[in-house]
Amino acid sequence: MKFLIVDDSSAMRKIIIRTLKQAGYEDHSFIEAVDGREGLKLIDSMRPDIVLTDWHMPEMSGLEMLQALKERGSRVRIGLVTTERSAEKMQMAEEAGALFVVNKPFTVESLQEAILPVLDEQTAAQTVKPEKKKSLFVLPHVVEVENAVKDLMMVPVKVRQAKPQLLDQRPMIVGLYGGEDNRTRAMWVCDLYACGVIGGSLTLFPPHQVFNLFREHKISEGMFDNVREILNVFAGLFYRQEIHQEVHLTASHIIVKPNPKLDDLMTSGSVQRLDMEVQSDSYGKGRMVTLVVD
């Protein structure tokens, strides 16, 4: 199947193609046009099976291209990828012959959902669902985490595997890990109490200071620095020898407000996760979760 992508933004054309490939159209072919005028020429000369076009473009808009195709009696399957959402604009698009409208920003799922109904049954059946890629990073084993913690801390800290549980109390610290391209491929989440246990044990914070932070639901700058240092060391636990990629902590954040996306990620069945409980005699116990999201 041949896709024609019409958009005056070269970045958007790349993103649409990338998303189509992620949706399972990897082995199909893609041609690009910068506006409606070039799009019309390519529809004539290249005969694409399906056209995805932006609305607003210089020279000729997506809507004008649709209208021109309608006047010619063209039967090419065409849809809009646009920020336009108003009912009035949607009606205009439909009257001009758009079979679907995908709103920007879009996801693999929303793009696939729009396109699938307009593909003929045979093509849809041929569309290969993307196989889950083998992750670049490996989920660490709890024993490896315990050993890393033992090497770092000034007092004994126990680490044991725990049942998966949503960490919904704030504040928490989240560390993000990436490889050479800096894309986030793994995360480490520590609830406030885990921050107290590991952050306090690293440089022997006075326990009353840590308990004050628990009481006030705060993470101090010193505590954040300690946890970040530990998260930095944990980067090595995701390393997979065959990938030959340096793994590093790309960012660390204090999260103080509810974050539905983070919660979704933590409840998603498609990520690998390890839930842990960390405990020390001086600072009590807390929870950590590590996720490989790639």
Binding site: T83, R85, A251, K257
Partner: protein, 164 residues
């Protein structure tokens, strides 16, 4: 007599969700919000993109990108991460980002509004400062260690020269 209601201006947490969605869609990466301290790198240059939101109560959306963030965004959008990018590629990426974000703000405002074209400034040493009195919603999103600063303001960009 009851005054006509004004537009439903999205608050900072709503706009932050929009920014995260747009970032995730364009960059393909998930990064949770950054709140509090922990920033370690001082950005060197900024570029501002603004877009007019035209309607009964004209608004302006102003987005400052630190140079590092701009390069990362454009590199990810063009599949050229870590490579030297052309000025056109940088402009195209930040312009598209703000255009899509503007579309999300329009959706929150309801009907009766439409977007102008993005206006992109040259890189500068300081982010654009919209006078506080005009700011309706303001937030920072910090992917890759540098902030994207977003301001939705009661400014009629049709009567100004865009980002100064």
């Amino acid at each position: 007599m009851v005054a006509e209601p004004g537009p439903q201006i999205p608050d900072s947490s709503q706009v932050l969700d929009m920014v995260i969605d747009v970032w995730a869609s364009l960059v393909g990466d998930y990064l949770p919000e950054k709140v509090g301290f922990g920033e370690t790198v001082v950005p060197d240059r900024f570029r501002t993109v603004c877009i007019a939101i035209k309607g009964e109560f004209p608004l302006g959306l102003f987005v400052d990108f630190a140079s590092h963030t701009e390069s990362y965004l454009a590199g990810a959008m063009h599949d050229k991460l870590g490579e030297l990018l052309e000025a056109d590629e940088l402009n195209d990426s930040v312009g598209e980002f703000v255009n899509i974000l503007g579309g999300e703000v329009l959706r929150a405002l309801g009907g009766g509004y439409h977007l102008g074209l993005p206006v992109i400034s040259e890189p500068r040493e300081k982010p654009l400062s919209v006078p506080e009195i005009y700011r309706l919603t303001e937030l920072e999103f910090t992917p890759q260690g540098h902030a994207i600063h977003v301001v939705l303001a009661a400014v009629n960009l049709d009567r100004t020269n865009g980002a100064q």
